[in-house]
C-alpha cells in the first residue's frame, strides 16, 4: 500500500500543527480560515503535495472551528461562519455556561467535520466519474453554472454579484492567450508598456493573499486597530458542566445541520456564513419552541457549529471532482495544487489515488486534533483572543510578502500585485463588489475562455451549447433554476422592503 507509506509522522505532525495554527487564526477576531491558508502557503513550497495538503487542510478545519471561541465568549464571530454561533453561544456565556457552550460547539464541530468528510469520500469520486465525460462544452456550462449560483446567493444583489464574478473573469484574461492551451500567443487587455510585467497576467496567489490577507489589515487600520476591549471579561466558570447527554434528542438537528453545511459547501463560492445561517433558521423553523433560540439554547449552537464544519468536506467536493472551488478557502487551496504542478479536475482522484486517500486522512486527523486540542485546552485558547494586534498584523504583512514573492521564484512584481489587490479588495468591499464571486471568476476565467472559444472553433455554432448532450441540457436547467431562484428571492425581498418602508 503506497498510501500508508505517505502517512509519515511528519504528515500527522503537519496536520496537527496546521489545525492548531488554524484554531488560533480562527479564534482571533478579524482573521479567517482563508487568511490562515493564504498566509501559510509559503510554508508548503518546500513540502511535497501530501504534506502540504495535510498542513493546509489542518489550517482550514482549525480556522473554521476556532471561530466559535470569540463568538461564544465575546459575542464577536471569529470567522464569518460563526455569526450564528453568537446568537446562542454568548447568551450561554452570560448565564455562566461559557465552558459548556464551548465544549458543545466543539463536539458539534467534530460531528459536522466527520460527517462531511464521509460525504466527500463517497460523493467526490462519483461526481468525478460523471465529469470525466465532459467535453469543453459541458465544462464551459459548468463554470457558467458555478458563476450563476454565486450570483444568485450573493449577499447584496444578484446584479452586483454577477458583476463581481465577470470582473474577476475579465481581470484573469489579462496577459497572453497561452499557446500551451491552444491560444495564439498574443497579449490582450493591456497597454504595450505593461507587457514586461503582465505577460502571464496577474498571478493567482498574490491576488488571493492580497484580497484575503492585506485587505483585512487595511480594514482594521481604517478602524484604528482597536484591541478587543472585552478581554478581561473572558470568564469560564464551571457552574454547569458539559456532558454528552446534551446531545440527547438532537440527532435530527445534527444530521440536518451537517447535511445543510455539506450541501451549501458544495455550491461554488458560497461561504460558511450562508451554511450556518441556513441551518440555524431551519432549526428555528422546526423547533418546538422557537422563542428559546437566541436566548442561549444549546440546539441553536449545535445547528450553527455543525453546519459550518460540515462545510469543510462539502466545499472540497466540487474542488476535487470538478476543479471548481466551493468557497474562498478552497480557492486558495487551488493555489496550493497549482504550486505542486497538479491540475485539480475530474481526472485528479483517479490519477492520484494515494493523494486522495491522504486528503481524507488529513481531514480526519485535523478534525480529531481539533476536537481533542480544543476540548482539553479550551481555557488557554480562550486567551488567544487577546493577542495584541499591533504585534500580529505586521507579521501577517511580512508573511504575505514572502508568499507573494516566492510563488514565481522571486518576482518583485508579484509583491506589488499583492499590494494592488490588497487595496483593490478594500475599495471593492466599500463599493459593494463581493470578493467570493470575484475570486471564483478570477480562478475560472482563463478556463472559461478556452472552453468557450475551442467549442466554437470546433463546432462553429452557438447552438452546440444547447444541443451537445443531455448533460449540457441538464446544466442549462440548473442554470435557469439558480437564475430563477435569485430573481424570486430578490423580488420577494424588494416586496418586503416596500411593505415595511412607508412610501413618502
Amino acid at each position: 500500500m503506497d498510501f500508508l507509506s505517505l502517512l509519515t509522522p511528519m504528515f500527522f505532525l503537519l496536520a496537527g500543527v496546521g489545525t492548531i495554527i488554524g484554531i488560533i487564526f480562527g479564534a482571533i477576531p478579524g482573521m479567517t480560515a482563508t487568511m490562515a491558508v493564504a498566509v501559510c502557503l509559503p510554508l508548503t513550497y518546500s513540502l511535497d503535495l501530501t504534506q502540504g495538503l495535510a498542513l493546509l487542510l489542518g489550517l482550514y478545519v482549525g480556522g473554521i472551528s476556532g471561530g466559535l471561541v470569540p463568538a461564544i465568549l465575546l459575542n464577536i464571530p471569529g470567522t464569518p461562519s460563526s455569526i450564528t454561533t453568537t446568537f446562542d453561544g454568548y447568551p450561554m456565556t452570560l448565564k455562566g455556561e461559557g465552558e459548556k457552550a464551548l465544549k458543545l460547539g466543539i463536539a458539534s464541530s467534530l460531528f459536522g467535520g466527520l460527517f462531511s468528510a464521509g460525504v466527500l469520500f463517497y460523493f467526490a469520486p462519483a461526481l468525478a466519474d460523471i465529469a470525466i465525460k465532459f467535453s469543453y462544452v459541458e465544462k464551459f456550462l459548468l463554470i457558467l453554472f458555478a458563476l450563476s449560483v454565486i450570483a444568485s446567493l450573493s449577499k447584496k444583489s444578484m446584479l452586483v454579484g454577477i458583476f463581481s464574478g465577470v470582473l474577476g473573469v475579465w481581470l484573469s484574461l489579462i496577459g497572453t492567450y497561452d499557446i500551451n492551451v491552444g491560444g495564439n500567443g498574443e497579449t490582450r487587455l493591456m497597454f504595450d508598456f505593461m507587457e514586461d510585467y503582465l505577460d502571464t497576467g496577474f498571478s493567482l496567489l498574490p491576488v488571493l493573499i492580497g484580497i484575503f490577507g492585506l485587505t483585512t489589515i487595511l480594514e482594521e487600520a481604517e478602524k484604528g486597530i482597536r484591541e478587543e476591549p472585552l478581554c478581561a471579561d473572558v470568564n469560564l466558570s464551571n457552574r454547569s458542566k458539559f456532558s454528552l447527554k446534551m446531545f440527547k434528542g438532537q440527532g435530527v438537528n445534527l444530521f440536518r445541520s451537517a447535511s445543510i453545511g455539506t450541501f451549501v459547501g458544495m455550491l461554488p463560492g458560497v461561504g460558511g456564513s450562508a451554511a450556518s445561517v441556513l441551518s440555524y433558521t431551519q432549526e428555528k423553523n422546526f423547533s418546538k419552541d422557537p422563542s428559546k433560540l437566541g436566548n442561549g439554547a444549546p440546539e441553536g449552537l449545535i445547528a450553527s457549529e455543525t453546519a459550518n464544519n460540515g462545510l469543510t468536506g462539502g466545499s472540497l467536493i466540487p474542488l476535487l471532482s470538478l476543479g471548481i472551488p466551493g468557497d474562498s478557502t478552497t480557492a486558495v487551496l487551488i493555489g496550493a495544487f497549482t504550486l505542486q504542478g497538479i491540475q485539480v479536475g475530474p481526472l485528479f482522484i483517479g490519477e492520484n489515488m494515494d493523494t486522495w486517500y491522504s486528503i481524507i486522512a488529513a481531514l480526519l486527523v485535523a478534525n480529531l486534533v481539533m476536537f481533542f486540542f480544543m476540548f482539553f485546552a479550551i481555557k488557554h485558547i480562550a486567551k488567544v483572543v487577546t493577542v495584541p494586534k499591533h504585534l500580529l498584523y505586521p507579521i501577517i504583512i511580512m508573511m504575505c510578502v514572502v508568499g507573494a514573492y516566492t510563488i514565481n521564484s522571486g518576482i518583485m512584481f508579484d509583491v506589488w500585485t499583492l499590494l494592488l489587490f490588497g487595496i483593490f479588495g478594500w475599495v471593492a468591499q466599500k463599493i459593494g463588489i463581493e470578493s467570493a464571486p470575484f475570486i471564483i471568476g478570477f480562478i475560472l476565467g482563463k478556463d472559461a475562455e478556452i472552453y468557450f472559444v475551442k467549442s466554437l472553433e470546433s463546432y462553429g455554432s452557438l447552438t452546440i451549447f444547447f444541443t451537445k448532450s443531455p448533460i449540457a441540457m441538464f446544466l442549462w436547467v440548473l442554470i435557469f433554476l439558480s437564475a430563477g431562484y435569485s430573481i424570486y428571492t430578490s423580488v420577494k425581498s424588494s416586496r418586503k422592503n416596500n411593505s415595511s418602508v412607508p412610501q413618502g
Binding site: P42, L43, Y45, S46, S157, L159, V160, I162, F163, V166, L167, V169, W170, L173, T176, Y177, G183, N184, E186, T187, R188, L189, L214, I217, L218, A221, E222, K223, G224, I225, K389, H390, L391, Y393, P394, I395, I397, M398, M399, V401, V402, Y405, T406, S409, G410, M412, V415, W416, L419, K430, A448, E449, F452, V453, L456, E457, G460, S461, L462, T463
Partner: protein, 147 residues
C-alpha cells in the same frame, strides 16, 4: 445542411484574432452589467444624494487617517526598500531580513495606542525575532527565495 432557423448563431473565429474574441465579449458583458447596475441603483443613489436624503460615505465613521494611510505608505516604502537592498545582496534574502525589521517596528509602533517601557520592548523583540526566524526557517532551512 444546417441552414435555417439557427443560422444566425453560426460563428467562425479567425485564429489570428482569437485572443480578442472572449475578452471582447467579457468587456461588453461588463459594460452592460455596469449600465444596468447604474439604472437600477445608480440613478436612485444620485437622486438621494442630490436631495440630501443620503450622504455618500466611503470611509467608516471617524476613520483613522493616520493608521490607514500610514499602513499603505509604509508598505510601499517597505516593498521599494526591500527590492533595492535585495539587489545589493542577491540571493541572500537580506533585502527581506534587513527591511522587515524596521518595517515591523515602525508598523507596530504605529498600531499601538499607548506606550510604556515593557510594551516598547515587546515590540522591539518581536520586530527583530519574527523576521529573523522566518528568514532562517524559510530562506535557510526551506531554501525559499526571498527578496
Amino acid at each position: 445542411m444546417e441552414e435555417g432557423l439557427f443560422s444566425f448563431l453560426k460563428i467562425s473565429i479567425d485564429f489570428k484574432e482569437s485572443h480578442l474574441f472572449f475578452p471582447t465579449i467579457m468587456t461588453w458583458v461588463l459594460a452592460i452589467l455596469a449600465g444596468v447596475i447604474f439604472l437600477v441603483y445608480g440613478i436612485r443613489f444620485i437622486r438621494d444624494v442630490a436631495n440630501g436624503t443620503r450622504r455618500p460615505r466611503f470611509f467608516v465613521e471617524n476613520y483613522d487617517k493616520f493608521r490607514l494611510y500610514g499602513t499603505v505608505a509604509l508598505t510601499v516604502v517597505y516593498f521599494m526598500a526591500m527590492d533595492l537592498v535585495g539587489r545589493y545582496f542577491p540571493n541572500t534574502g537580506f533585502g527581506f531580513l534587513f527591511m522587515s525589521i524596521p518595517f515591523m517596528f515602525v508598523l507596530s509602533m504605529m498600531y499601538s495606542h499607548e506606550f510604556n517601557r515593557s510594551k516598547m520592548i515587546t515590540i522591539a523583540v518581536n520586530a527583530i525575532v519574527a523576521p529573523s526566524v522566518s528568514w532562517y526557517i524559510l530562506g535557510k532551512l526551506f531554501n525559499i527565495t526571498l527578496p
